[in-house]
Point group: D2
Chain length 258, copies 4
Amino acid sequence: MKDIQKRKDKRGIPIKEVGISEIFLPIFVSDKKNKIQQVVSRIKISTNLSPKKRGTHLSRFLEVINKYQGYNFDIAKIADILKEIKSKLKTSEANLEISFIYFIEKIAPVSKNKFLMDYRCKIIGKILENNRIFKKLEVEVPISSVCPCSKEISRIGAHNQRGVIILNVTISKFIWLEDLIDLVENEASGILYPILKRPDEKYITEKMFDNPKLVEDIVRDVAIGVKKNKRIIDFSIKCTNYESIHNHNVYAEITNRK
Amino acid sequence: MKDIQKRKDKRGIPIKEVGISEIFLPIFVSDKKNKIQQVVSRIKISTNLSPKKRGTHLSRFLEVINKYQGYNFDIAKIADILKEIKSKLKTSEANLEISFIYFIEKIAPVSKNKFLMDYRCKIIGKILENNRIFKKLEVEVPISSVCPCSKEISRIGAHNQRGVIILNVTISKFIWLEDLIDLVENEASGILYPILKRPDEKYITEKMFDNPKLVEDIVRDVAIGVKKNKRIIDFSIKCTNYESIHNHNVYAEITNRK
Amino acid sequence: MKDIQKRKDKRGIPIKEVGISEIFLPIFVSDKKNKIQQVVSRIKISTNLSPKKRGTHLSRFLEVINKYQGYNFDIAKIADILKEIKSKLKTSEANLEISFIYFIEKIAPVSKNKFLMDYRCKIIGKILENNRIFKKLEVEVPISSVCPCSKEISRIGAHNQRGVIILNVTISKFIWLEDLIDLVENEASGILYPILKRPDEKYITEKMFDNPKLVEDIVRDVAIGVKKNKRIIDFSIKCTNYESIHNHNVYAEITNRK
Amino acid sequence: MKDIQKRKDKRGIPIKEVGISEIFLPIFVSDKKNKIQQVVSRIKISTNLSPKKRGTHLSRFLEVINKYQGYNFDIAKIADILKEIKSKLKTSEANLEISFIYFIEKIAPVSKNKFLMDYRCKIIGKILENNRIFKKLEVEVPISSVCPCSKEISRIGAHNQRGVIILNVTISKFIWLEDLIDLVENEASGILYPILKRPDEKYITEKMFDNPKLVEDIVRDVAIGVKKNKRIIDFSIKCTNYESIHNHNVYAEITNRK
């Protein structure tokens, strides 16, 4: 059968990324407490394409991914996959992004009830022509914020709401997702739980109203925590608050990229 | 050219709805203050299909819709469109659903600043074989809720969050979208605004903390208001709160259908 | 601590559903080939609420769900959970909806390459006052359709596109998700695969162009298949095609409810 | 009243962006045929924040936006808004992103039927410390693609599907959205229409099957067109195909940024 993808291209235009998105697969990732966790991943995988080639062989991406089923998709394995993609597709760069819901057991502060809490996470890798590999982790952490301005001026209460912090870091060495999530949760007005009894609710409400923070405070405080971690090369932090008195969202973003 | 749609069908299976979704068009709707408002609508239109016919003529739906461009898509016009669809496509039933963002000028409670606020709304119509027409309106209203349980037990504050109420009503006569939205907003702990200065924030925060409500309270209080309106034949009310201390949503729903 | 939820309510308004949505948990479901499959579920759980009670105890929903972790969430277990919810919350009705991505190994038609394919599925249960339990399954199956009208009139080709069929059935006895998915895939112009080599592509392309179907044909042919299964009490089928020549979607829906 | 935002900050951390997202407003944009078009916009607006300041004054963003209601939000006006934001909030940078559905009258190729077609567009602006202003336009164009590989190897047909091309350009001078959309549509296998009669369907189907293109071909051919426009300083092009034989998407991206 003829193979159109193999043909030479005369347009002289390099392609930055060509690949596949919306691949879904159950995979394993590293879990701090239980060693390993099975997750359902959404995968995006691509390479660059030389200006001389007309097309890429997309089924090879899946063949490579398929080989790693059953293995732990940790940062070390991501490097192996990127090298194999680059070699199998004869390109100079390759990219891989794996998104999944990750579960961590959360203990309610007073009742000590336990329940799994869901966090959206990503493992991202890129291999360059010189074989240097960039590894990124991303965690999306739901939080609550109490507005210090509203607290200061109001006779009672203060507007408070759910928000989300997205922390994306380039790392030099392995970091637990749990540690990144902890780092973020420590800096919000309050954190979210899957299950709470009334004594827990009382504790959490009082704690967050004693700890009001602007969206600007939250991203700055997370940045201070992130900067202390020597395994983090560079980062971006974005916090979005779903304002309970406004019909719009408020957000702040700090970027510290090399 | 051959016309496959016209062919007879021998499978003997009636189709409840066959039609088109995700049509986008700028249209006009009735506005209580400004008489008329231009909105961007997302339209779904369909008919039933007799077990004897193989297919419908989908382009005719668009031809009918197109004729009404420039007109006001109010409840009266919806009836005209449904009758024309039914006649043009020679079916016994027809359905039309028009979704759009509707803007109402909102005045901040203290500063009196004005700004447009966006509400997601729907106009829905159905014509039956006996030519009886059912007309529905739906409004989606963002609100805020303060938890009375959390307020009762906590030394300071109470968890509070954004929520959304969806009110869907079958009507016998014309009702302003503004009146349905008012009816809903009156029963939440607090309402959302597009623009607020600090004195407004103070006023709204205190008002909502003086008015804590469970999700169950909110849907019941909206139901009491809805029942007073003689133009409303039946209804459903759903309130969803994006909990600021839980990583899940809490919802309540009342249905009163004839 | 005071318990506001327990208070009596004087508004006299029953609530159809009050509960929690967007709970995420890893659970197990029955797998035809591998006995059991771990999936990531999104759970919605609720009860009705008597007009005499002010509120429900939401944390109890999570306590019940939590007990069943590690068990297989099959239709039998759903019945147990519903009964326990009803009893623990002292209500007359309870509802449970579990959504997840389910994986089935798919074999390419010519190369015989294997890869997991993802299907969105739901298990839905409802218990009534008389303890009768309704059990539903829903499968969402991506398909491809070739337009017979376009094929008939064109010198070359025919417009063809991805679509999705949602089949929702009320069942009297256990049915495999695999069997429902098979039933749907058999009636499309063509089915989708995760991995294909060129000989597979040739085979699939020719097969679907030899089997053109209108959206009306597809839902009718699925209905014929569904009606043959004696374990299915009632059903709805909806097919939506993401038209490759129109900027809107075309859909058809058959409902056969008792 | 106390003003927490005005306080000095000692953390020494600059914030890249702090602002508001999900503001919805009806605005006017320039229309090549009708001079002006009313659209419903979703607005994101932000500034940077000096490490010395604790917070920004978010309501001022809305005050500035509100002043421009009734005006045409073209590239010239975007520059005015950015300057005013920067001055009112006393910051060194400001950002504005306006997203909307834009309508263009489309004429069917044979029947000459006319109907409005919807395109998702963005106008994006950024002002720097030196007052230099960057202006970007983005258009999202639905297209159809016929696979040349599948056509080459199959006895009949070829897999064909809907896709979408997102073209984002930095411009030195005003460009019509219509011209950017034209540029993109010219390079796909086929384009989408809102309304088609059977002779149109025949024409379009044959034209696209005579013009099969890989996703790699499409982005390259759009790039050639973009490079000819002297008003475009730099660009990115991404094409995603919703494969009709695969349950994943295929994409290609070219970036040419200065």
